[in-house]
Amino acid sequence: MPGETDRRIITELAARGYNADREAVTLLASEADPDDALERAVEAAPPDAFKITGEHLREVFEADARDSPRDPTAETPDSTSNTDPSISPAELEDRTTDSADTSPSETVGDDPTRTTDERVPTDPEHRFVEIVGDITGQSTGTGEYSDFVTVFRDRYERLAGKLRGRINHRPADAIQTMPGGGDAEMIGMVNDIRSTAGGHWLIELEDTTGVFPCLVMKDREIAELVGEIVYDEVIAVRGTLADDAGILFTDEIFFPDVPHTHQPTTADRHVQAALISDVHVGSQEFAEEAWSRFADWLHTAEAQHVEYLLLAGDMVEGVGVYPNQDEELSIVDIYEQYEAFAEYLKEVPGDLEIVMIPGNHDAVRLAEPQPAFDEELREIMSAHDARITGNPSTVTIEGVSVLMYHGMSLDEIIADLPEEKASYDNPEKAMYHLLKKRHVAPKYGGKMRIAPEEHDYLVIDDVPDVFHTGHVHKLGFGTYHNVTAINSGCWQEQTEFQKSVNIDPDVGYAPIVDLDTLDVTARKFT
C-alpha cells in the first residue's frame, strides 16, 4: 500500500511538471492527506524549481505545523507535561497526547452501567493487517558458535548500513596502520566501555577486522552520551588519532537513530487500536475486575472505532518463572492458565482483530527472538481467530506499522542508563533509546538471552510508526522523532516481589491509538 501511494504521488507531481527526490515522496506519503499536502507543496514550490526536495517540503510543513493541532510534542517529547507520566498515579485518569481529543465527559470506563450506546459490529472488509519479522517457524539456529558469529555480523552490517551515509568508515585494522595525528572515522560494535584512571571514557569499537580504542574526554560535551551507550550496540565515531596512533580522540558520536525527518504513515480512516500487555492470568494478583471493565467498555459505542487489539506478551503468569512461584498462582496448571486467558479474551467483542506476541512469562523459549505459541497453545487460544506471532514482530495495520516487542531489554536499559535517561517511571524514555540504537535488545550477556539465528531479528530495520512494549508494568508514552512509543501497563496488581523492590505497577490501563492521527489516549479501568 505505501508503494502505491508513492507511485501515485510521483505520477501526480509529474503531471504538474515536477520531479521529486526520495525524501520528498516519503514525506508526502506519510502526511495524513497526501493529496492536500501535495497541493500545498506545489503551491509553495519556488518558481524556478523543477524538483521538489525533502528540504523544501520540511519548510512547508513546519510553517503549517505552527498552527496545526496535531502532535505538538513530536520533536521534544520529554518537554511537554502531557506526555510525562511522572505525575503521581492518583492524578492519572485518562492520559492523552492530545488534550483536544479528550472531552471531560470521557469517564466511560468507570461507568459500565451505560448500556444505551452499544458498539455495532464492524466490517472486517476494511481491515488490513500484515506481519513481518516473525521468527516463528523460521528458527534455524542450532546453537553453534558460527550461529552466534553470524547473528552479530548481521547486526553489525545492517546497523552500520544506517551509519555509512554519515561517516567514512575505515576498518579497525586500517586505522591501526594509519599514521598518528590524522583524522579517522569508524563504525563499530561496542566491545567495551570503561573509565580510565583520569575519569575519561574508553570505548572499544569492533568491526569484522578487529577492535580500536576510542577515548572520550570527560570534559567534552559528548561525554554525556557515553552514559547511554551499552555493550554491543553499533555506533560511529569521528575523531583524531593520537600521535602514536594507538587511540582515537573522539569528537563526535553517531547513533543509527531515527531520522528527524521521519514521518509516520497513518490510516486512511478513523479507526483505533487498543495496545495492552502483561495480562498475567493465573496469578493471584490478576486484576480480573479491571479486565472485565475494559472488555465491557469495548462493547460500548464509545469504543466503536477500536477495531484492533494488540497484546505485547505475558498473557499468563506462567510456571516456574521464579522460585516457588506456585505459591503465588491462582491457577497452577499452565494449560489451564491459557484456557482461562482464552475465556477472558472471549469477553472482548468478537469483531476485534487481535494480534499477540509472547513474553517472558509465556510458555515459549526465553531466548530472543521468541517464536510464537506452539500448536497446542494456539488451539487453546483460538478465540476470535487471533493472529499469533513472534516477539518481536512488526505488524502493519491499515498502513500504520507497529513494532511489537515484549520489552525484556527495558530492564537492562533502565539499569544501565542514568536515572534521567531511563527509569521505570518513564519507560517510554527507555524505548526512545532502543529506537535510537535501532535495536530492541542491543546488550549481549548479563540478563539478556539471545538465541542465534541466521539474521538478527532484533534489529529495527525499518522505522516503525508505533513502538509497543510492555514487561515493566508501567504506563508511559510519548513520541521520539515522530515515532509513537507506548509501554502499556499491566493487568496484575502489585506482587510481593514488586513490593520488595518498590515498583508500583500501573494496573488496568489501555492506551488507545487513533490510527489516523496516532494520538494516544490512555484509558483507566480500575
Binding site: N191, Y231, D333, P371, R449
Partner: protein
C-alpha cells in the same frame, strides 16, 4: 598440670626440637630460599600472635596483660603500647596505628586465622577537608575470617590509637557517605552479607565513624553513582570494608559499646542510636530483628493452650533445602520411621557429630559411612556421622514379610538386598553439649536404658542386688522380669519391651486389640489373623513378627498384650476406651489408651524423630594442585600442557634454538659471600646462601629493603623489584639436579613443573626436591609441602586394638592406664586419648609413608644428612609428629600419630580440631609430615595475591592450651551418665542451660584440663559400617540419583515423591535453567591461547592469536539432565506443575538447538 601431661608435652617438644635441629642444619646448607626453617614454634597464643605479625616484643606483653585482663582489654592496652612506642619500632603515626590494629585482630582471633595479615592491607593518614589528618584503614576480603566482633573492635582500636596519637577524626564527605550506602548494597547483592544494613544505617555509620573504612576492590561489579571519588581509589565494591561496616559495626554495635563506655579517650555516642535503631524512623530494629529470627521453623513450645497432646518440638524443614541429586534423604522432618533421638555422648562424639548404628549405615544402602556429613533437622545444621553400636539399629521388613530389628552390622549386610521397607532407621545419638552449643531447647528423650535404670533405682527395687546377680541382665532382661519389675516396683516398663504406642492411632489400637482378642498362642508364639490394619499396626509399633498369607506370628508378645490390657491368656481386661483417650493428640496417639488399660506405667518410646539428609561425603585424599605439581620450578609453555620438565629440557621451537632454553620470570638473587647473581637459593659459584637482589625498574639502581621490608627507589619513587625475565637452560638445570642427587630419568614417570611462579620474588624451588617427589609419588602444594586431606572427627578414648597398634607400643607412647585407672595390659582396654594425638586413615598413613621416604632421601641425597624417619612399615609412623592445618588459617598445630583406622577420616581429640578452629560437621583439613614442613615450606613460594598467605603454616603451635581453642569444644559434655532430671527436663522442652551436666569448659584452666573426658556410650570400634559411602563408590551422577530415589522408596520416613520433586526443583531445574541462560548469554574462549571474550568476536576468530574461538557452554551441558529429569518426574509421580515446567524447558531446548526447517524427530524419520 599433671606430671604425666607435662611429660607428654615434653616428649612432643623434644621430638620437635630434634626435627628442628636437623632441619635447621639442612636448610643452612641447601638451596632453599632462606637458610633457616620458616615455621616458627609458638608455645602459646602470645607466641602465635607475635609470629604471625612478626612484631617482636608482642608476645611478652600479651602474656603480661592476659594475666590481668580480658583479651579485648589487652588489645586496647596494647594499642597504648604501640601509641607510646613501647611495642614495635614504628616511627610514623600510621605505622603505629597499623601495628595496633593488626595486633588487636591477631589477639582476638588467637593468632590462628589469616585475618591480621591478609585482612588488613595497610593504614594511612588522609587529609580532612579542614586540613587536619585522619586515619584510613584498608581492609581486604580475608578480614572475613576474623568474625564480626574482631572486625568491629579493630575499628575501635584504630580509633583509640588515633585518639592517643592526637590524630583527628575522619570527616566524611557527602558523596563518600552516599558511596558507602551504594557500595554496601552492591556488595550484599553480588557477594552477600550475613547482615544487610539499611541504607540509612550505612550512611549513619559512615557519617559517624571516626575512622575512614577503606579497602581494596573485590569483584568486578561497579557502583553506578558516586564513581571516581577523589578519596576512594576504586569504583568496585571494597569487600573488606563492607564486611567491617555491616557484619562488624552494624551487627556488633552492642559489643563495641561495652568497650567504648569504659574508655575516656573515645566516645561513640552514636552507637546507641544504632543499637536502638532510632536512625530516621523507629522501624529499623523491628526489621533487623525479624531478619535474625528468620528461621521460624525452629522449636516452638508445646502449645500451652492445648493440653490434649504430648510435648513435641516443631518439625523443621530447612535441612531439606537445596537437596541435590545423589545425596539421599534419610528421614523427612520429625516423621515416624525416622531416626529416633537418643541422648548421650559416645567416645567418638564431640561437637557437631551424630551417632548412628553401623547396621543402619548398611541398611541405607551404605550411603552413610564414618565421617559422612549429614544436614540435620536439629539441634544444629550439620553433623559428621560416627558409628556407635551400643544404640539400636534399624527395623526392616524383608521380602518374605518378616519384620525384624537389626542390631548387628554383619546381619545388616546379609539381609541388605532383601530389605523391602525400612520401617525405622534406628536411633540417633546426640550429646547434650550439642544442644548447649546450639542453644536449642531439649527435645523429648527416647525412653532408653539410661533413663529407665535411674527410675528403677528410684523405685523400691534393690537394683544393686539385681545388678550383682549373674542371672539378671538389667540392660536386656527377660520379658517375665521386665513385666514383673514394672508391676511389682511400680517402675515404668523396661524400654526393650516398650513399643511405639505414640505412633499408633486409637482406632488402630482398637483394631489391634480386636485381633488379639481373636488371636491364639501356637508353639509359644502369638498368631493373629493377617489384615492390613493389624500388620501395619505391628510395624508402626516396631513389633518383630513373621507373616504368611493368612497369619502374623509374634514370637515376643507378652509385653505387647500386657501393655494392651490383656492377660497372658489373651483375656481382655477392659471394655472400651475413654473419650479422653480418643481425643488425645487428635486420636493419632494411643499413649492415653495405653495408660488406661496397661497395668503399669509406659513411657513414650521415641517421641522425637530427627530428620536428616546426606550433605557431603567423607573425605580422605591427598591434596594436589590441579594439575599436580612436583616442583615449583617455572618452565613456561615449554613442557606442554603436562608441564613436563623433561620435555621442557628438550624444548626447541626452531632449528637454531638451543634445546632447553626457555625464557621465564624468576627472581634475581645475590650471593652473600661472593656477590654473584643467580636465581638459585645457593650460590652456584661458592655454595653460600643467596638473597633477593632489588633494582629500580626505571633507573636500575640497586636497592636495599628498609626495616619494614619495603623496597622503594628514592629517586624514582617507585617500588623496586627482584624479578627478571631470564633465559634459563632447563636442560642443564634438569640434568645437574639429577646428577646432584644421583638419580636417573627412569626412576620416575613424569616430573611436572609449573608454568610460571606467582610469588612476589618468584623464587624457584631446587629442582632436586621435585625429582625426589616424583620418584616417591607425592606432589607439592603451593607452599612446597606435601599434604593429605581428611574429614575431621573427634574421639576422646580409644582402644589400641582398633587403631592397629600393639599395647606395648601404646605404653611406649605414654599410655599406662585405661579409663578405669587399671594398668594398660590388653589391646582392647579403653584409654583416654591425649589431646594432640591423632589417628590416620589408611590412605593418610600410606601417603605419609611415601612422604617420609621422600624426606629421608631428600635429607641424605640433597642435604647430605642422616635420614630422619627410616620407616618401612606404617607401624613405624606411630609416635611421629605431623602438622594439622585448616584452610583459612595460618597456624599449624603439631600432632602425634597414635594409630590408624580404616574409616576415611582423621580422628583426633576434639581439642585438636578446635585448636585448628574446626568443628566436626563434615569439615576437612590436612596433615603434613613434620619434617616435610620444616624442610620444604617457604613463605617465598606463597602467591603474591590476596589470600596467598592463607592455608600456609606461618607459625606452629607445639602444645594446645584449652583456653586458646575455639570455645565450641568447651561445650562438650564429659560425664558418664545424664541425670534423671535431665530426661525429665527434656519432656518440658527445657532450655539446656537449666540442666546441670558437666561440660568440658569447667576444667579449662585447671590441672585437669587435659583429662576426664568421660562418655556415656561406648562403641566397639571407631570404624564400623562401610569404609566409604555409596556416594563415593557409585559411578555416575545418574547411578547415584537412582540409588537415592530407590532408597527413598524403601524408607518409611521418606516421601519419595518429595525427594524426586526436590531433586528436580533444586538440582535439575536450576541446572537446566541456569545452563540455558548461560548458553544464551555466554562468553567464548579461544581454544589456542585461552583468551576469553564477553561476546563472539565479529571476525569469528581470536583477536590475539588468530586461533579458533569456541563456545564455553555447549548444548550437551545444557540438556544433560533433561531426559533424566523427565523420567524421574514421571516415575515418581511428581506434580503436574513440575512436569509442565520440564516440558516447557524441553521445548525451549528444542527451539534453541533445533532447526525448524530440518527437524530430526526420531529414528522413524530414517526408516
Amino acid at each position: 598440670m599433671h606430671e604425666e601431661d607435662e611429660r607428654y608435652f615434653e616428649r612432643i617438644e623434644s621430638r620437635l626440637d630434634e626435627a628442628f635441629d636437623r632441619a635447621e642444619r639442612a636448610r643452612s646448607t641447601g638451596g632453599d630460599p632462606r637458610p633457616e626453617v620458616e615455621i616458627p614454634v609458638a608455645k602459646d597464643m602470645a607466641d602465635r600472635v607475635e609470629n604471625i605479625l612478626g612484631i617482636p616484643g608482642v608476645a611478652e606483653r600479651v602474656r603480661e596483660l592476659e594475666e590481668r585482663m580480658s583479651r579485648e582489654e589487652a588489645a586496647l592496652a596494647l594499642a597504648e603500647d604501640f601509641a607510646e612506642g613501647r611495642v614495635g619500632e614504628y616511627e610514623t603515626k600510621d605505622g603505629k596505628i597499623e601495628g595496633a590494629v593488626r595486633t588487636a585482630v591477631a589477639l582476638l582471633t588467637e593468632g590462628v586465622v589469616a585475618a591480621p595479615i591478609e585482612g588488613i592491607d595497610r593504614v594511612e593518614l588522609l587529609e580532612n577537608d579542614d586540613g587536619t589528618d585522619c586515619v584510613r584503614v584498608f581492609y581486604a576480603g580475608p578480614i572475613r575470617s576474623a568474625g564480626g566482633t574482631a572486625q568491629a573492635l579493630s575499628v575501635l582500636v584504630a580509633d583509640y590509637t588515633r585518639a592517643l596519637l592526637g590524630v583527628s577524626e575522619y570527616q566524611a564527605r557527602d558523596d563518600e557517605i552516599e558511596r558507602y550506602a551504594e557500595e554496601v548494597g552492591l556488595y550484599d547483592k553480588t557477594t552477600g552479607l550475613q547482615y544487610s544494613p539499611k541504607d540509612k544505617e550505612t550512611k549513619f555509620i559512615a557519617r559517624n565513624c571516626p575512622i575512614m573504612l577503606d579497602g581494596e576492590s573485590t569483584g568486578d561489579a561497579e557502583v553506578s553513582g558516586f564513581r571516581d571519588l577523589e578519596r576512594v581509589d576504586t569504583n568496585n565494591p571494597r569487600g573488606g570494608m563492607c564486611l567491617v561496616l555491616a557484619e562488624g559495626i552494624a551487627l556488633k554495635a552492642p559489643k563495641i559499646q561495652r568497650y567504648t563506655r569504659e574508655l575516656d579517650e573515645i566516645d561513640w555516642p552514636w552507637l546507641q542510636d544504632l543499637i536502638d535503631g532510632t536512625i530516621g524512623e523507629g522501624d529499623e530494629v523491628d526489621e533487623t530483628d525479624a531478619g535474625d529470627e528468620g528461621d521460624g521453623d525452629e522449636t516452638a513450645d508445646a502449645e500451652p493452650d492445648e493440653p490434649a497432646g504430648p510435648p513435641r518440638v516443631e518439625p523443621a524443614t530447612k535441612f531439606l533445602r537445596d537437596l541435590i541429586a545423589g545425596r539421599p534423604v534419610f528421614s523427612h522432618p520429625s516423621r515416624p520411621g525416622g531416626f529416633r533421638l537418643r541422648y548421650g555422648r559416645a567416645r567418638n562424639h564431640g561437637f557437631a557429630t551424630g551417632g548412628v548404628h553401623p547396621a543402619t549405615m548398611h541398611i541405607v544402602d551404605d550411603f552413610l559411612a564414618t565421617g559422612t556429613q549429614i544436614k540435620t533437622e536439629r539441634p544444629g545444621k550439620a553433623h559428621g556421622i560416627i558409628p556407635v553400636d551400643t544404640i539400636e539399629g534399624p527395623t526392616v521388613r524383608l521380602a518374605n514379610g518378616e519384620v525384624r530389628r537389626i542390631d548387628d552390622a554383619a546381619e545388616a549386610l546379609e539381609v541388605q538386598n532383601g530389605v523391602e521397607k525400612i520401617i525405622d532407621a534406628g536411633e540417633y545419638l546426640i550429646n547434650f553439649g550439642e544442644f548447649v552449643e546450639n542453644n536449642h531447647p531439649l527435645a523429648p528423650a527416647s525412653y532408653t536404658f539410661e533413663w529407665w535404670i535411674q527410675e528403677f533405682e528410684d523405685s523400691e527395687a534393690n537394683v544393686q542386688a539385681l545388678a550383682d546377680s549373674p542371672r539378671v541382665d538389667l540392660e536386656s532382661p527377660t520379658v517375665e522380669e521386665a513385666l514383673d519389675w514394672a508391676v511389682e516396683y511400680n517402675a515404668p516398663l523396661h524400654p526393650n519391651y516398650t513399643h511405639l504406642w505414640h505412633d499408633l492411632s486409637t482406632t488402630e489400637f482398637e483394631a489391634l486389640a480386636e485381633a488379639v482378642d481373636e488371636g491364639t498362642v501356637k508353639a509359644g508364639e502369638l498368631e493373629l489373623t493377617r489384615t492390613q490394619v493389624v500388620r501395619e499396626a505391628l510395624e508402626t509399633l516396631l513389633v518383630e513378627h513373621r507373616q504368611t498369607a493368612e497369619t502374623l506370628s509374634i514370637p515376643e508378645w507378652r509385653a505387647l498384650v500386657a501393655t494392651m490390657g490383656f492377660s497372658e491368656e489373651l483375656t481382655r481386661e477392659w471394655a472400651s476406651l475413654s473419650e479422653e483417650a480418643h481425643a488425645w493428640d487428635g486420636g493419632n496417639n494411643a499413649m492415653r489408651a495405653v495408660a488406661e488399660v496397661a497395668p503399669f506405667t509406659v513411657r513414650e518410646r521415641a517421641p522425637t524423630r530427627i530428620g536428616n539428609r546426606m550433605g557431603r561425603p567423607e573425605k580422605s585424599e591427598k591434596r594436589e594442585l590441579s594439575p599436580a605439581v612436583h616442583t615449583l620450578f617455572p618452565i613456561g609453555e615449554a613442557g606442554g600442557s603436562q608441564r613436563d620438565v623433561a620435555k621442557a629440557a628438550r624444548y626447541a621451537p626452531g632449528m637454531r634454538d638451543t634445546p632447553g632454553e626457555v625464557e621465564v620470570s624468576v627472581g634475581r638473587r645475590e650471593c652473600e659471600a661472593c656477590g654473584s647473581h643467580t636465581f638459585r637459593g645457593d650460590c652456584p659459584d661458592c655454595g653460600a646462601n643467596t638473597f633477593p637482589h632489588y633494582e629500580c625498574p626505571d633507573c636500575g639502581t640497586e636497592l636495599e629493603p628498609d626495616e619494614a621490608g619495603r623496597v622503594e627507589c628514592a629517586r624514582c619513587e617507585i617500588e623496586g623489584t627482584s624479578v627478571d625475565r631470564q633465559v634459563l637452560d632447563l636442560d642443564e638445570i634438569y640434568h645437574d639436579a639429577l646428577s646432584a642427587i644421583d638419580e636417573r630419568e627412569g626412576s620416575f614417570e613424569t616430573l611436572k613443573g609449573v608454568k610460571g611462579l606467582t610469588s612476589s620474588h618468584k623464587t624457584p624451588e631446587p629442582m632436586e626436591k621435585g625429582i625426589l617427589r616424583a620418584k616417591h609419588g607425592v606432589s607439592a602444594f603451593k607452599d612446597g609441602t606435601v599434604r593429605y586431606d581428611m574429614t575431621d572427627l573427634p574421639v576422646t578414648s580409644v582402644r589400641p586394638e582398633e587403631l592397629d597398634v600393639s599395647v606395648e607400643e601404646f605404653r611406649r607412647l605414654g599410655y599406662h592406664e585405661d579409663i578405669e585407672g587399671t594398668p594398660l595390659e590388653h589391646a582392647d582396654q579403653l584409654v583416654e586419648l591425649k589431646v594432640q594425638d591423632i589417628v590416620l586413615s589408611d590412605g593418610a598413613a600410606e601417603h605419609l609413608l611415601k612422604t617420609a621416604d621422600f624426606v629421608d632421601e631428600l635429607l641424605e641425597d640433597y642435604y647430605g644428612l642422616d635420614p630422619f624417619y627410616d620407616v618401612s612399615e606404617r607401624e613405624e609412623l606411630v609416635g611421629e609428629l605431623v602438622f594439622g592445618m585448616a584452610p583459612h588459617t595460618s597456624a599449624a598445630v603439631v600432632g602425634r600419630v597414635v594409630g590408624f583406622t580404616s574409616a576415611a577420616v582423621g580422628y583426633a581429640h576434639p581439642y585438636f580440631h578446635a585448636s585448628k578452629r574446626r568443628n566436626c560437621d563434615g569439615d576437612e583439613d590436612c596433615v603434613m609430615l613434620l619434617m616435610d614442613g620444616l624442610l620444604n615450606f617457604s613463605k617465598e613460594y606463597l602467591p603474591d595475591k590476596r589470600g596467598g598467605q592463607m592455608d600456609a603454616p606461618l607459625v606452629m603451635s607445639s602444645r594446645i592450651d584449652p583456653a586458646e581453642i575455639d570455645d565450641e569444644a568447651h561445650n562438650m559434655d564429659v560425664v558418664e551418665r545424664y541425670p534423671l532430671e535431665f530426661y525429665e527436663a527434656t519432656l518440658e522442652l527445657a532450655d539446656p542451660g537449666e540442666v546441670d551436666i558437666r561440660l568440658a569448659e569447667e576444667s579449662v584452666g585447671t590441672a585437669d584440663q587435659y583429662r576426664g573426658f568421660a562418655h556415656t556410650h561406648d562403641t566397639s570400634n571407631i570404624a564400623l559400617g562401610p569404609d566409604l559411602s555409596a556416594y563415593k563408590t557409585l559411578g555416575s551422577m545418574m547411578e547415584k540419583m537412582d540409588a537415592q530415589l530407590e532408597l527413598a522408596r524403601k524408607l518409611r520416613a521418606v516421601d519419595e515423591t518429595d525427594v524426586a520433586e526436590r531433586v528436580i526443583e533444586y538440582h535439575f531445574l536450576p541446572d537446566l535453567i541456569g545452563n540455558l541462560r548461560a548458553f544464551s548469554s555466554q562468553e567464548t574462549r579461544c581454544l589456542s591461547c585461552g583468551k576469553k571474550y564477553r561476546r563472539m568476536p565479529l571476525s569469528g576468530e581470536c583477536r590475539d592469536c588468530g586461533g579458533t574461538v569456541n563456545l564455553t557452554v555447549h548444548e550437551g551441558s545444557v540438556s544433560k539432565y533433561m531426559d533424566t529429569a523427565t523420567r524421574v518426574a514421571e516415575e515418581y509421580g511428581c506434580r503436574e506443575y513440575t512436569k509442565q515446567r520440564l516440558k516447557i524447558l524441553d521445548r525451549s531446548l528444542e527451539s534453541v538447538f533445533e532447526n525448524d526447517k530440518n527437524k530430526q524427530s526420531g529414528i522413524a524419520d530414517f526408516m
